[in-house]
Symmetry: C2
Subunit: 226 residues, 2 copies
Amino acid sequence: MKKDTLISAEALDAAPHAGRRFDRVLDAAEELFALHGFDGVTMRQIAKLAQVDVALPNYHFGSKQGLFDAVFHRRAALFNLARSNELDRVTAAAGGAAPTLEDILAAFLMPIAEAQLQSDPGWRNYCRLVAQVNSSPVWVQMMTQHYDDLIRKFVDMVAMALPGTPRSDLFWGYHFLSGALSLSMADTGRIQHLSDGLCRSDDYETLYRNMIQFFAQGFRGMKING
Amino acid sequence: MKKDTLISAEALDAAPHAGRRFDRVLDAAEELFALHGFDGVTMRQIAKLAQVDVALPNYHFGSKQGLFDAVFHRRAALFNLARSNELDRVTAAAGGAAPTLEDILAAFLMPIAEAQLQSDPGWRNYCRLVAQVNSSPVWVQMMTQHYDDLIRKFVDMVAMALPGTPRSDLFWGYHFLSGALSLSMADTGRIQHLSDGLCRSDDYETLYRNMIQFFAQGFRGMKING
DNA sequence: GTCTATACCGTGATAGAC
DNA sequence: GTCTATCACGGTATAGAC
């Protein structure tokens, strides 16, 4: 079996259940929550977009909160797996030595770039959702719930690539990376507008290529600090 | 007259109108919008927190949207002035030469650090609000409305400090900075939790000191790219 | 088991009376 | 400038159709 994408598309978009009411509700909720947040969306809007009855989302997911959780959960597992696998891959590829910062950053970021590059808007919507959750004092806990393990793994690998750098500095570095990544996932189009079209918001390749280089330099700069 | 803060506190927190119903509504709205976003807050909640009648916010601001705009607007002008002044100050201090990247970043960031360090929670709340607006596809336009001029000024100064770097790269660099800044303003406490307390979320001094160094390195790294 | 129609009850924004 | 009445809309429970 050929595997040409980091996130197996079959796992989700071409799933045997696709198109069924249950999944239409999830897709509709994902799209609307991504744009307007939890409170900006009503169950009635979701039901309408999914072309199902108002009561159906509640039947399947118990409550609005339950639906939101299900939406967030659905792709988190796939994201974690893809990114964790990539981190393992570069570790293995480096033999016994520590992988380069660039390789670690690429492993951490490229599954996200790939998700945003999909023609299907589902992953892009999910990314937007993550971005909003990550910036909200009341919703962040969903991030810690689903992504802490992966992030600790990432920080540990950066630590190996930069021996001697204080661990707290590495976490600050991750904080900066997380912010930049979060804003990139939000995909608001602001950078395109701000740069008068010089940077294209849908040019994810350039975005992430620059990001890897930029943050590798940033992390290396912390080593001097002491 | 002694001026010991970048943002004059008198301009707002000790204003002659403080404590009046009109201002109590703005303060209450700021606090609630900052935590829950536009749709996560009801006019009744705002009125209750401000200890005014439900109808008063509408009387003064026309609508919920009008109130939100007023809240966002109120501190934007002060922020812009403080940060723009700082940029001018480092330009002047450098004589004819270009200021260093570190000085430019400090001028851009320190007024925000200072805002978050205020004992009064108003500025911290406002920062959170900005962070959420900045990450939302439907609300970003408020950022461009209020902050584009300042950001272009910042990018122009970075361009002078890094001659030869492609302008698009500088905008990508700003995009990364904006993300990191945005997440810092969101002040969700995640970095503290993630680092097991190694980084304290309220340690704004360390945060911004690291940020200046980290991003100066990042920006310099783009020059190599070509 | 899967889904629809509908009813319930609380709450929202706002207009108009005071 | 303040308060109240109104009416639409919110999430959800339930009864029963397929």
